[in-house]
Symmetry: C2
Subunit: 111 residues, 2 copies
Amino acid sequence: MMTSAKTELIPPDAELVRVIADPLRLQIVTLLARETLCTTHLVEETGARQTNLSNHLRVLREAGVVDTEPCGRFTYYKLRPDVLATLAGSFTALAETARTTAATDRKRPCP
Amino acid sequence: MMTSAKTELIPPDAELVRVIADPLRLQIVTLLARETLCTTHLVEETGARQTNLSNHLRVLREAGVVDTEPCGRFTYYKLRPDVLATLAGSFTALAETARTTAATDRKRPCP
DNA sequence: TGAGAATATCAGCCCATGATGACATCAGCC
DNA sequence: GGCTGATGTCATCATGGGCTGATATTCTCA
């Protein structure tokens, strides 16, 4: 294959990783990956308070991780697969770069 | 292939994500993906204090993200590609599950 | 239209955790 | 051996961010 020798590694979006790193938010993301849910479902599933969940959902919404879809007086939350796919791609690229670095034992000499 | 219809989605390791989510630590990981470095190099590259870096490196070490390799009075830090690869795989699985959920519009009915 | 449910918003508390400084340790070199 | 530079450890401090309670808003249904 003809990948350029020095591929411009695009690191994972730090802000996105920070948003997803919270345990409750990661749980929400995992739940939403399987099925679209509304806040009530998430309250049942996680056991967290409604207010707490609503705050976290806002963070996820503002970070572009989830989309909302009103349905009567309920609000459905659905994951945006492309955002997660991009993140996954960044980590895959990191892992592959690291593998090459390890395989070729590339290291900067001690000063 | 004979995967069961309901693949058991293994979510990303929350602790690992938390460790990598810190901006400085993510920067360290990105730098180490390209080449193995010792603390002195990381101080130059990041501009952070040596003490601060040492603390973050300990976190990364204890989380199994990096390995250390003493070299005289220097200490080389190298990334463990498998750990990142596993993490990437978890996010890829999440993204694919989410894509299926979106494509088939799978949602839990309002109560 | 009034009641009640579902959800969002806001202010405040408080704790986890990142940053820093002082000190300890260890290796190499004179 | 003594010095110097590289690195790790510890105690402390400060701030960001998560949790909560009170309240607002909006929708459904009787």
